[in-house]
Amino acid sequence: MKNVLLIAIVLLMSSCTTQDISRSLRSLRGTALPAEGKFMESYVTACSNTESTPSPDTSDVKERINRPSLDYEIIENRALSLYLNGIKDSLLAQWPEKTDRNIQVFVNSARVYSAHSTPWDIVLSMGVIADADSEDELAFIIGHELSHILLGHHDINDYFRSQEDVVNIASKMAMVTAKMQDVEVVHNDDDTIDIEQQNSESTARKIQDAYKISLATNRICRDVLSSKMARENEEEADLLSTDLLVKAGYSAFGYGKALERLQTSMVFTREQLAQKKAEFQTVVTVLSSEEIPDSGSFQYLTYNFANELLTNLLQFLSIRHPEPKDRKLVLATYIKREYRQERRRKIQKTELKRIVHRGSSGRILNNYWTASEALRALDHGEIGKAEKLARKAVSSPTSNHAYTRAAFYAVRKAEGKEKKAIQNLNLIKSWQNASIQTILEASRSYRENGLFEKALVILQRAETDLGVKEPTYPELISVYKDAGNIDKALSVFAECSNCRESILRDQCKIAAGELAANKDSALPEAELIDDFRNIFL
């Protein structure tokens, strides 16, 4: 364990430098709350003093590559969309610099009270829309996510991603070097040379160590360091959101119910907590350079204790948001100091009620919620109840929506009614609002029923409407293989082999089956050349 800690400290100092991040200066103070004055004014002043623009430089804006929230369906509700984007526009108008980014607000089909942002979009969950009882509450949430975009917080992902690449390259070089040192060169009579890999035990240990160190470095960088920065960024987003809220005419206390609901939603089962902990425990176990002692021995007790301690520490340090009660205190202090009158502004409810709970918009949201209840009933094995709810969910005006039809599809599948299940897929008009899982499931259903053309059309929608192709590779391989188009299947398999995600490459191998197994087995020298290629290309 002493070795583990020593390695961790050395790695943190050498590989995870934060010198390039200007926010590290603020992190020394420990809070984003300015000593006096309003956050937005002090931030803008600080940025103009350091000759950088407060809003993200539009010349660096990466093009929006895909629809947000691909793991969920997007709710199609024009009135709601106009309403939420109207709130976003009124907040954005308070930011001193104009931005060319076309930031949009979406609502996804998640039931839990949550929201997130990408560099281009803000996504609220259906749970937020269902629970919010004032426009000020929605405005705080939208303002919080908007603040992440305006303050350039998403740039941190690029930083840590490039760090991971550096560590991975270093680790691969260490592994290749070990392999290179472990060869025997045999001079033949005909002046040719054979390279024979010895595969000694010491080399195997060196390779294992190089892998372990890279894994540990990347996890610590990702879970601990980035979380520290994330916590500071969350505080900044809370403060800026409050400034934007007040300037736009909302109550400074808009955060009140949002944080309370957030806190009440964070209730976990024992299994969920155990799963979260297990993720960190594997990192600590891998770091251990010693064999795990026998469970009956005294050494096992000390090993277990150290393992538990490190796991809890990693878990604690990796929490990316301050606790809701701590956030509440910071904001309460801030608004008392800066917005004593504005915190007494009347909370606005009328427009929200009109848009969310009445008319066509209200019916749409009701149907989506009913669809989510159908899926929940299905999870609990209540198929009869699920069917009733799913049938209600596809009533007008959501009869052709991706989410409601996907829910009914799932119910029909559970009932074993394959043809009726496919009928539901055929009725979906707006695939651009479907989740990637729905698209893949639809393709699989079409493929299993011999409808290969339809399967390919659906997978093509993933690329054109959602802006992603890689997650469809395994299913594409399966479709081509089942349709007898082996050349195309191999072509997609070759594309998939160059993907960054190892789980995706594994899935492609499974999908390709015997096609992948028939690839030539690498000769030792070819393996080394491949290793070099993997590092530099």
Binding site: L70, D71, R111, V112, Y113, S114, H116, S117, G127, A130, D131, D133, I141, H144, E145, I156, N157, R161, A230, N233, E234, A237, S251, F253, G256, K257, R261, L262, Q263, T264, S265, M266, V267, F268, T269, Q272, Q275, R320, H321, P324, K328, L329, A332, K336, R340, R343, R344, K346, L375, R376, D379, I436, Q437, L440, E441, V468, P471, E501, L504, Q507
Partner: protein
Amino acid sequence: MTRYRCIFLWMVFSAVVMGGVSIAKTKEVRILNFIMNEIEICDTAFTCHNMNKSELPDPSETVVKVVNFDQDEGMLMFRHNGKDMWVHQSEVDLNETAVASVVCTSVPDTTKTSQDITSTPKSVYTTYGLGEGCK
């Protein structure tokens, strides 16, 4: 006479029952904590000044009932030493809070099949969201 007495008794009985139901439905709202050391307290004339927490009732030792609520301004009224005191809701913790309809315990572990690939890139280090999320 008996008929009118019955009607009268029925009316009284209904009033008592309905009144009791109304009382039973109205849950008592209490202040659980003053979250800062200095609390802004206003009197009925809405003249406000900061008071030290030590000069206010200790909710851990005595029940501090909210007896009035100005919804428009978010001000709560309680009584202390015979005086009516108004405080802004941001400076207190209450026993009644807003709740989320769905909690993390009800979120299924995964609805994905083993064949599905998550579209969320694993190399996204920080998820900028409202809170930690359920996963």
